[in-house]
Subunit: 423 residues, 2 copies
């Protein structure tokens, strides 16, 4: 298998990150050097671009544009949330993928994404083997959620962790300055199932008076009574309270806090008020403790915060992409690149490999023991784990006081297949 | 009057900014050099600290700590939203202020804040004159809202403008990458009465396809019908739509969009949903156009974003503080320092002065003609005005991948007056 020659296709999938383009850059720059790879193509919008035969020639892009992927956030190739179903359920889709790959002599497929993308990649590998289309498929890890199994951490996490931490440091100083007016504050982070992102807020804390004073994640038990007690205690001690909370927090019965209406008092019109986690917690604090509370929901800005990305994360993201190509060139197929941590101080990692199927079926939650017993603050073990991931800053090209990001010119490959409508 | 000798008191008021500490730094560093000023004190939490006689000796702080004010966001002295009422209504408060000033031989008072703070400062000046306590009172402009009259712009605005612009650039790339899933996005900015902050989002835009595609401010007419038309048009052209909207947006009848319930469809439980402007606009887009929409509300993080502050803004903030002391040393009293723009390219300003009373009663809105006719995008005139204000970046001292901010040690002055309870 190691001798296969042909074109390489790179695609990005799922929610963007500040550094998924750095991974694409690693794939592209390494692939352009690889003799077995004849052309380097990009799929527009992940697997959707394959299904719709929207492919463009990355070899035709200015090398400087390609290099600027290192400093451009989000998915420059275009991304999607399209997941191929089981082979039996959507055979037509899989056959279409193969049709397009064959038509464009795609022999190397590099897919950057999370669990679902690794699942798609694994299926494409199986199908091409069944169909006798010799092909190498490699996964590149990507997720701000940091929830992929078999890897110490995921590219994308370090940068969102760094941005959340600095945001908490800065907004925390606001509450500290103006506690005579706004006494509490809640910052809601992304992380629907795992608490890694919210936990990163704890990196902001160098002394007990520093924000955040309380951190809540989906992995630890959360009750209204305990929450009110926590805030009351912190407020008594410091005269203010800054809270970081994961959007994925759940009540004891497993329902999402953000979706719970019973927790919300009715407004003056008799209507329940609905919002995210931050708004629910604000309401509880104001109802139960009468403390004026501010809330923040940074949304998409947090996962694309290139202007404060972690240099470590960015460089590792590039490495993951480049390593996927090196492995592929050596004949490896059906694996995702992983990181194995050799040491915390000085921080050192090496790359490894995990089977696509295994990654697809795994999920790595924040270990419960990395939260304190009360479930309201990450432990030192978490800090030791996360600290190296946020080290260093990325210098961005700048114009008029703001960064300059790249866009591909997208020289489309001529379509060779029939049109196909994606369901 | 120019010969008065005694102590100087510096205080911060209102909502914090990334650079209000830089202004305090300018006051302190200049005051420490001034021979007429014998001691430099800080009021804890603005005028509240005066009323409660909570003053500390800044001269006793490490000069390095003082210098780190330049790179520390929010109000390190502590701030408040306490406004002294009319002299007739709260004579006791004014007499208390004078009592504390006399007890600590405060002869120079520097107050950094917005309209309300200038109002307080003006009243203190009048009262001390009436009471025969010779005193110099100077205002230092501070507000992210950029709504102070008599000055070209306000320290604090350039930094929030820069942060909003980069946030829109970055989150805009998310919508561009993932428009097959999330088609629209709304970022809500601060600015309760003036649209300066939301308008700054337009700095992110270098070409028509760049975010933001639509910008809404309180100064321009806004209707549901027009909004739906705008989003439909942008979506047809680009397949996505990124919107920046001021929290202070109003409907034609003058009511706040954020507080309007009639604009909101009922949810499946028959309850009206309530949120900020971003949530209202999201709901309208989803109801009327069926386009999946994300929203963001950065809250306190935007006004404290030191990690991406404008160097121009930071340096001018320091200058405003230092200039207030230089003017005071020359005998000027009862004025706020202003900026007068000499040229856009190359950008050049000089300082000026405005009477405290005049600033207190003025408010500078975004000129209507700096928005296009449709009221959905700032014009080039606004860009030319705002661009120089966001130039340059501030280098922060760093530890463990995050900035290091200062705190005063606060050596309290011994209390000399009776206790006083603030109402």
């Amino acid at each position: 298998m190691s001798g296969v020659k042909g074109n390489a296709l790179v695609a990005q999938s799922g929610g963007p990150t500040a550094v998924i383009n750095a991974s694409a850059c690693g794939v592209i720059q390494e692939a352009l050097k690889c003799k077995r790879i004849t052309g380097v193509f990009g799929a527009h919008n992940g697997i959707l671009g394959v299904l719709q035969e929207e492919l463009f020639d990355i070899g035709a892009e200015d090398p400087e544009t390609v290099d600027m992927l290192r400093t451009t956030p989000s998915a420059a190739l275009g991304s999607c949330r399209h997941k191929l179903k089981k082979l039996e359920e959507s055979r037509a889709d899989y056959e279409r993928v193969l049709e397009v790959f064959k038509a464009h002599d795609v022999r190397y497929f590099f897919y950057a994404g999370g669990n679902d993308s690794m699942d798609t990649a694994a299926k494409i590998k199986d199908l091409s083997a069944q169909a006798g289309h010799e092909m190498i498929v490699m996964g590149v890890p990507k997720t701000i959620d940091n929830d992929l199994a078999f890897t110490d951490h995921c590219p994308g996490y370090g940068s969102v962790a760094k941005f959340i931490a600095v945001s908490v440091m800065e907004a925390g100083r606001d509450t500290e300055s103006l506690y005579t007016f706004d006494t509490c504050a809640v910052l809601e982070t992304m992380g629907r199932n795992a608490g890694w992102i919210a936990a990163a807020a704890a990196l902001a804390r160098r002394s007990p008076e520093d924000a955040p004073h309380l951190v809540y994640v989906p992995e630890a038990r959360f009750t209204r009574e305990r929450f009110v007690q926590d805030v009351r205690r912190v407020h008594r001690e410091f005269g203010r309270c800054f809270i970081a909370a994961s959007e994925g927090m759940r009540w004891e019965d497993g329902t999402y806090v953000a979706e719970d209406r019973s927790a919300l008092a009715k407004d003056s019109f008799g209507h329940a008020q609905l919002g995210g986690v931050a708004q629910v917690l604000k309401k509880i604090i104001e109802d139960e403790l009468g403390l004026k509370t501010r809330w923040m929901m940074q949304g998409l800005t947090q996962r694309n915060a290139m202007h404060y990305a972690s240099r470590t994360d960015r460089d590792e993201a590039w490495l993951a992409g480049a390593e996927a190509v090196r492995q592929a060139a050596a004949g490896t197929s059906g694996f995702m690149v992983t990181f194995e941590r050799i040491a915390d101080r000085p921080y050192q990692i090496k790359t490894g490999l995990a089977r696509l199927e295994d990654v697809a079926n795994g999920e790595k939650k924040l270990p419960r023991e990395w939260m304190n017993q009360e479930g309201n603050m990450p432990t030192q073990q978490f800090i030791d784990y996360a600290r190296p991931l946020i080290e260093g800053q990325v210098d961005l090209p700048t114009q008029g006081g703001l960064p300059v990001f790249m866009r591909f010119t997208r020289k489309w490959l001529p379509k060779k297949c029939r049109t196909y409508s994606v369901r």
